[in-house]
């Protein structure tokens, strides 16, 4: 097992190098002078000369890539064009908001997805099964940016139940420790802020959870159906165990193995979907930051943000693979 994990980590190196090559090349494949792209059209000649020197833009491409990698190793992702902030500092500031949103969305997706999947599987071909599976297919087909706006219209603008956007109301004080607002509120026992933060996260999290929820529901249903057909389930039933015990104690454990993988992979997908959700709900995370950067053509931010999200995505997929090997001793790790 240890050897397997080590090998997986080793494979990580070429993948991450590949990611860095793609991100690096994008700037150079783009028509136009990279220095001008990075600094914007209004840059002075001195500034242009300075960045050419700093990034080695006059040197051959492979030398430039070497310099790029060297800077990456030092954690230097460059500076933003407009605010002259370190890109890395900005990423660090924003990514807790994104992770908080993604984790909440995934929790909602797992909870409802798994329950729907189990009920559908135990009542295959019932009306409930048909409706929930059609619902799941609609969920996969949902334009979430539209769904988010519909939620806003109904729950915020018409009914006034939920706040329109943002992470926290302006009049609520919260001592920031980890930048995960829900966590901070619990640590500081600030229940007002906790309620406010939860109220703010409901709509974006539900919006973001739509597609993963549908996928988890479909996966749980098919995995459950597979397991329920097996002999040991018949044995358990023959022993006179209750339906509840058979389903939750015997079947669910084995059925969850492929579901866990699906959930892990969905986490990465959620990171991509966060760009849409965060933009709609003005959620101050990495996604909205990237979107703003695309609109302002701030290529340093695009570069840094892309590298960051892709690295996170690769790492999560690695964790999922390792976790899969651990919970499923049947697969040979070779």
């Amino acid at each position: 097992m240890l050897a397997y994990i080590l090998r997986r980590i080793l494979i990580l190196i070429p993948t991450l190098l590949g990611v860095s090559i793609i991100v690096f090349l994008m700037l150079h494949v783009t028509p136009g002078d990279p220095a001008e792209l990075l600094l914007g059209e209004r840059a002075t000649d001195e500034a242009l000369a300075e960045i050419r020197e700093h990034l080695g833009l006059n040197k051959p491409l492979y030398v430039q890539y070497g310099m790029f990698l060297k800077r990456l190793m030092k954690g230097d992702l460059g500076e933003t064009i407009w605010t002259r902030q370190k890109v890395w500092v900005e990423v660090k500031q924003r990514f807790p908001a994104t992770i908080e949103l993604a984790v909440c969305a995934l929790c909602i997706a797992c909870f409802f997805g798994i329950i729907l999947g189990i009920i559908s599987a135990t009542r295959q071909y019932s009306l409930f099964d048909y409706i929930s599976m059609l619902g799941a297919l609609a969920g996969v087909s949902m334009p979430i940016f539209w769904l988010g706006l519909v939620f806003m219209l109904i729950f915020s603008l018409n009914l006034g139940w939920l706040p329109l956007s943002g992470r926290l109301s302006i009049d609520v004080d919260l001592e920031i420790i980890t930048n995960f607002y829900i966590l901070d509120a619990i640590i500081t026992r600030n229940w007002i802020a906790l309620k406010d933060a939860l109220w703010h996260i409901i709509m974006p999290a539900v919006t973001l959870s739509t597609i993963p929820m549908a996928i988890v529901a479909r996966m749980t249903r098919s995995a459950m159906l597979e397991v329920l057909r097996q002999d040991y389930i018949k044995t358990a039933k023959a022993k006179g165990l209750s339906q509840f015990k058979v389903v939750f104690k015997h079947a669910l454990r084995n059925a969850l193995i492929p579901v866990v993988t699906t959930i892990g992979l969905q986490f990465g997908v959620t990171l991509g979907g966060a760009i849409l959700t965060e933009t709609i709900f003005a959620w101050p995370g990495v996604g909205k930051w990237m979107y703003d950067a695309v609109m302002q053509r701030d290529y340093m931010v695009i570069q840094g943000g892309t590298l960051f999200i892709a690295t996170l995505f690769v790492l999560i997929n690695l964790c999922v693979d390792v976790l899969y090997a651990i919970i499923n001793p049947r697969i040979s790790v070779n």
């Binding site: 991450l16 996969v140 334009p143 539209w146 706006l149 098919s222 979107y291 892309t306």
Partner: protein
């Protein structure tokens, strides 16, 4: 001696007919096909079907509600937007844009993916590992993010959005084709083809590829669904279709500021996207059940 009669087993039908009849029995797949054909017809006959021009503005008809509202009229059945453009007409022309985008981007992914997958699977070795590593690199990005970044560099336009979506879909096709080619290469008919001196490209494209068409067709149909969704998302973010192109995602983006005053401007394009994507997904699921029992989840 009595004549021996050859009685044909009624169940022994050509696999293709068997698959088609299975597809025909699948009600959800038929529903999907109907939805898809509905949009295809709308796209092809857009000029004949739409009551008004999709881009012509009319100062006197701004923000007219749909016909079932108090102030609605039969002139604009689904109402008008803030520039007085007829929403129904824009939706019909929007079907054209969305289907064209998905045809081009999925087509690009199909051609490149099949080519790379076949080359990798057939020649194996170094070429295969290089191709597959490149595919892994593309897969190392959440794909919507990759599409957004590609468009950010190339500049926002519908053409670049198609290109970006196409690139991000290449690995799915490459993986399917590579897997099938690896499997088929071991079979006797490939050895036979080789022994009579058939050229490599002939073996790949005339002998092998037709044998893995099933999974490819399924993947193509399902990719149509996600391409429509992704193109709408890109246009919503302002990275795809530019105004005044009647594109569903762009229509939703424009309606954001009108959300309270005229919710219908936002509602209908969203329903159109949902229906079109759902249609392709339903049809794709049915095709998968019929053509490719291995892939059933």
């Amino acid at each position: 001696m009595a004549e021996t009669k050859i009685i044909k087993d009624p169940h022994d039908r050509h696999p293709f007919i068997e698959q088609m009849s299975q597809l025909w029995r699948n009600k959800t797949a038929i529903a999907g096909m109907l939805i898809v054909s509905f949009f295809v017809v709308a796209a092809i006959f857009a000029p004949q079907l739409s009551p008004h021009s999709p881009v012509e503005t009319s100062l006197y008809d701004q923000l007219k509600p749909p016909v079932w509202h108090e102030n609605g009229s039969w002139k604009n059945i689904l109402g008008t937007d803030d520039l007085g453009r007829d929403i129904l007409s824009r939706l019909i022309y929007g079907a054209r844009v969305s289907l064209l985008v998905s045809v081009f981007s999925v087509g690009l992914a199909f051609v490149l993916g099949t080519l790379f997958g076949a080359l990798g699977g057939y020649y194996k070795g170094k070429l295969d590992s290089v191709i597959m590593r490149i595919m892994d690199m593309i897969l190392a990005f959440p794909y919507l993010l990759l599409a957004i970044v590609v468009v950010a560099y190339l500049g926002p336009s519908l053409r670049n959005a198609m290109l970006a979506i196409g690139i991000t879909y290449v690995p799915r096709f490459a993986r399917i084709v590579r897997g099938s080619v690896l499997e088929e290469c071991e079979k006797d008919y490939v050895t036979a083809a080789r022994s009579i001196g058939a050229r490599d490209w002939r073996i790949i494209f005339i002998a092998i590829i037709p044998n893995c068409l099933g999974p490819l067709i399924v993947q193509t149909t399902l990719s149509f669904a996600s391409a429509i969704l992704d193109a709408a998302a890109l246009s919503f973010l302002g990275l795809g279709a530019q105004p005044p192109t009647p594109e569903w995602g762009a229509m939703i983006a424009r309606s954001r500021s009108l959300i309270l005053r005229a919710s219908w401007v936002m509602t209908f394009p969203g329903i159109a996207i949902l229906l079109a994507v759902l249609g392709f997904n339903l049809f794709g699921d049915g095709l998968r059940d019929a053509l490719d029992p291995r892939l059933r989840d």
